[in-house]
């Protein structure tokens, strides 16, 4: 910083000119509290002289009050923003930090290293270009190192720098450094990183952070700051096909109709033939309009307004692309989901999917498997809890234009929003469209299985008999509704207002209606005093049918054993979980 300070003092205009074209790097730091992550970022801010005197005074006071470093300054306290977290001694969310050197501006996403980790890390990594992965030299590669690395690769970061910290505590051993690095390289092969750098550091002592450490003469590579200042991140977004999600139709008067948005990838010039992916309409770019004048060309990352040569119908949510490199258009797709909400994902529930500037009603049709973020193993699963990752199929109410996340981060991502609470419940990364869409919606045959798939449930007729049958049926129906499933309690009074129980006369009609509702994909509930006759059973032919006997005699062989000691609520939950999901 000294040369810099001199330039600032002597020729501020020259300095400003030099700063004008500075690039920017967004990176994420991954590691747990014990790895010294906050200390590392505090050290970067400190050594790049971004901590002001008044902040230092407050830091010194805080260090004495709640610090963990005795009389030394606790750099970690710079990072812990919220008061409650400061008192607990842990950070619980994503915090963003800013610092700059002569060569670059930096935005650091700092995420905590405990149980909410997946959610926060994926959030912080979503906009990052590089990941700094911290490892404690004494402990080596831990489960959490694998988890961090997997999540980093999941959100598409291709460059990682493995900072092996606390080298002072292993006597700056080259052998230890190499042992950890080799193990990491082996493990990371399937993650497909383009580049893995490794630096031996001590965040506490400042080794190899800003300047080369005298303690590691065997290490000839760059310091951490050098690496961050020079790592090549020229995003390849510009070389990918042109994509512009229309955010805003700019129509100040009858003579001007512009389509505003940020270019996700590629480049565009006046005269280029553009295509609205979902409608198939096309035109040519007339002008690239900005406040600072029309542009001869616009690139990925720029926020612009395009006017077209023809008046075609375009609105917010449309994706402008080019005819020769169209995106996929589909209403059925496979995607990886990271579940972000305390209420678990249960397939079948309807939600809103926001991708680019488009928002469409959607349903998670099926959960194919869960990915164990520690072992990367694929595991069977019926739901996805917070911080879990899974591969799902989704049905959309209308076709969406997209690319796979692997090909285009900006047009392959989405979030899911809960329709009732409006919470952001999941982050999604699209793998591929699925067959249904590729064939077109008219070519699909409709049967019970198809209806059931669209509802995300197993159609079923449940015949419940016994003293509490009606109460249990009602509870099962409520439970189904709670889980976003379509159940229907077929009460006898629906057929005959006078009837309050299932009589012999009602039985044939009841069975027939149950069969039809079941064919519609519903879970049909019938509560009766007695068990089902063979005649009625015959009428239900073709349906998936289950009989539940409440208070059955001990010697009866029940199809589904209920724990007699449980409350009816609990029994309803068990029934639904075992038979309907």
């Amino acid at each position: 910083m000294t040369a810099q300070s001199a330039l600032i003092a002597e020729d501020i205009r020259a300095y400003l000119q030099a700063q004008e074209e500075q690039g920017m790097l967004r990176f994420i730091t991954c590691g747990s509290v014990d790895d010294g992550k906050s200390t590392l970022i505090g050290r970067l801010l400190w050594d790049s002289k971004l901590i002001f005197e008044d902040q230092l005074a407050s830091l010194e006071a805080d260090s004495k009050r709640v610090g963990t470093q005795g009389e030394k300054i606790d750099y970690a306290l710079l990072m812990d923003g919220l008061q409650a977290e400061r008192e607990q001694g842990i950070t619980i969310d994503v915090a963003y930090r800013y610092f700059a050197t002569d060569r670059r501006k930096f935005i650091v996403a700092d995420t905590p290293g405990h149980e909410q980790y997946t959610r926060n890390m994926v959030t912080g990594a979503s906009n990052a270009e590089v990941a700094v992965i911290l490892v404690d030299a004494r402990k080596g590669i831990l489960t959490q190192t694998r988890r961090h690395s997997y999540l980093v690769s999941l959100v598409g970061i291709r460059k990682v720098v493995l900072t092996i910290n606390k080298m002072d505590l292993v006597a700056y051993s080259q052998a230890r450094f190499e042992e950890i690095l080799n193990e990491y390289r082996q493990f990371a092969i399937p993650l497909g990183f383009d580049e893995i750098a490794a630096i031996p550091i001590s965040a506490l002592e400042g080794d190899n952070i800003i300047s080369a450490s005298p303690h590691t003469p065997w290490y000839a590579g760059s310091t951490l700051l050098d690496y961050l200042e020079t790592v090549e991140v020229t995003s390849d977004a510009v070389s990918r096909p042109f994509r512009l999600p229309v955010q805003w139709v700019n129509r100040p008067n009858l003579d001007f109709r512009g389509f505003s948005g940020t270019i996700t990838s590629g480049r565009v010039r006046p005269g280029d033939a553009v295509l609205v992916a979902t409608s198939g309409r096309s035109s040519r770019v007339a002008r690239i309009v900005t406040f600072d004048g029309d542009l001869p060309e616009a690139l990925a990352g720029q926020a612009v307004t395009l006017t077209l040569e023809d008046e075609i119908d375009i609105s917010r949510g449309d994706l402008l692309t080019m005819a020769e490199t169209p995106p996929v258009v589909a209403d059925h797709l496979e995607a990886k989901l990271v579940w972000l909400h305390p209420d678990a994902l249960v397939p079948g529930r309807s939600c809103l999917l926001k991708a680019g500037t488009a928002t469409v009603p959607a349903r998670v049709a099926a959960l194919q498997f869960r990915v164990n973020v520690n072992s990367l193993a694929q595991e069977p699963a019926t739901n996805l809890a917070m911080n879990e990752v899974g591969v799902c199929t989704l049905n959309l109410d209308k076709p969406l234009a997209f690319d796979s996340y692997r090909e285009n981060r900006g047009t392959g991502n989405f979030i899911l929003i809960d329709r009732l609470s409006n919470a952001t419940v999941a982050a999604g990364m699209i793998h591929q469209p699925l067959l249904r869409a590729a064939q077109g919606w008219t070519s699909r045959s409709i049967d019970r299985a198809a209806r059931a798939a669209s509802l995300g449930q197993k159609p079923l007729i449940l015949w419940i008999s016994g003293r509490d049958a009606a109460t249990l049926a009602e509870l099962v129906e409520k439970r189904l509704l709670h889980l976003g499933r379509q159940g229907y309690w077929l009460r006898p009074e629906r057929l005959d207002p006078q009837a309050d129980t299932v009589t012999l006369e009602l039985l044939p009609r009841l069975a027939e209606i149950a069969r039809i509702l079941n064919d519609a994909g519903l879970i049909v509930l019938i509560a009766a005093e007695g068990s089902l006759s063979d005649a009625a059973r015959a009428r239900l032919g073709g349906s998936d049918f289950r009989e539940i006997l409440l208070d059955a005699p001990a010697d009866a062989t029940a199809e589904f054993p209920l724990q007699t000691g449980d409350s009816l609520e609990r029994q309803a939950e068990q029934l639904v979980t075992a038979l309907c999901l």
Partner: protein, 299 residues
């Protein structure tokens, strides 16, 4: 050649501005007349060019702003032709609430926080742009770009929506709202560099000039009008001063300076060793004071 950092920040802010305008029914831009507001306004003009701003600007006037700020505000409104709403907490005025008589904490709560809530309720805004930056203060480092507020305008730091990529969740129920921060990722230096590069007009108080000031509680307070009563022993001095941050004149300290141009201001800022919020009285009240104010609805 990748976009320079200022171009990237500019594009990100424009994206946020357009997203809010498109997704909400009744957005508003909170206009504090300071340098961050000036940048935010400039970015909004870029975002919707050649159209006009699709939302009004709201100034919560505490009646204690610097006179030059008010003059600047009115000049901007007539030059740029945006719709300007001005709201003052009349209950506070009736009760004679002043920073001198009631202290900065109570005064800020009534005239700023309450005034803002009144205005948001009165016009039923479902989104409000603010010029806050994450680098300003520790509790802001974790603030979302779309910050969800409950029906009574409260910010719950434990119940904020996850925010990924550039996908912002704009769904609110009636009465709920969001605060949107287009300058989240800008630093103080970025703001000054951008003002310089784009030649954005700012209130002249940011530039050094000889002004009448009194020294009080370790701060240099501008004698902006007759409401500032001299305490025993205080004398009005004429000094070359400027303001690093602008707010209510009795709560905003000036710094001795000779910087009369933008490069000189930036030079001074880069060589100084105190952060900009130090000139604000309200931050000194207690540790975590900004965080408490945010939970209550202060920006």
């Amino acid at each position: 050649m990748p976009l320079s950092h200022l171009r990237q920040l500019e594009a990100e802010s424009i994206h946020i501005l357009r997203e809010v305008a498109a997704e909400f029914e009744n957005p508003v831009m909170l206009y504090s007349i300071g340098k961050d507001s000036a940048v935010m306004l400039h970015l909004a003009r870029k975002a919707f060019y050649p159209g006009k701003l699709p939302f009004p600007l709201l100034h919560v006037d505490t009646t204690w702003k610097f006179r030059e700020m008010i003059a600047f505000r009115d000049r901007m409104a007539s030059e740029y032709g945006f719709e300007l709403l001005i709201h003052t907490n009349q209950d506070g005025v009736a009760k004679g609430i002043s920073p001198f008589a009631h202290g900065s904490a109570l005064y800020t709560d009534i005239m700023k926080t309450e005034g803002l809530k009144q205005a948001l309720d009165k016009y039923q805004f479902d989104a409000a742009f603010g010029g806050a930056r994450r680098d300003e203060e520790k509790s802001r480092a974790k603030e979302r770009i779309f910050s969800f507020r409950s029906e009574n305008h409260r910010w719950d730091p434990k119940n904020q929506r996850a925010e990924l990529w550039n996908l912002y969740n704009a769904r609110v129920k009636k009465g709920e709202s969001i605060r949107a921060f287009p300058l989240s990722n800008w630093t103080e230096l970025d703001v000054w560099q951008y003002i310089y590069r784009e030649n954005i007009p700012i209130v002249p108080l940011y530039f050094a000039a000889v002004r009448p000031v009194v020294e009080r509680d370790g701060m240099l307070i501008l004698v902006d009008d007759e409401r500032l009563q001299l305490q025993p022993g205080e004398v009005v001095q004429h000094k070359s001063v400027r303001f690093r941050t602008l707010g209510c004149y009795p709560l905003t300290g000036a710094v001795a300076s000779t910087a009369t141009s933008l490069p000189e201001i930036i030079q001074e800022m880069l060589l100084t060793r105190t952060s900009e919020r130090q000139g604000r009285l309200i931050d000194h009240d207690s540790a975590g004071s900004m965080e408490k104010k945010k939970q209550e609805g202060y920006f």
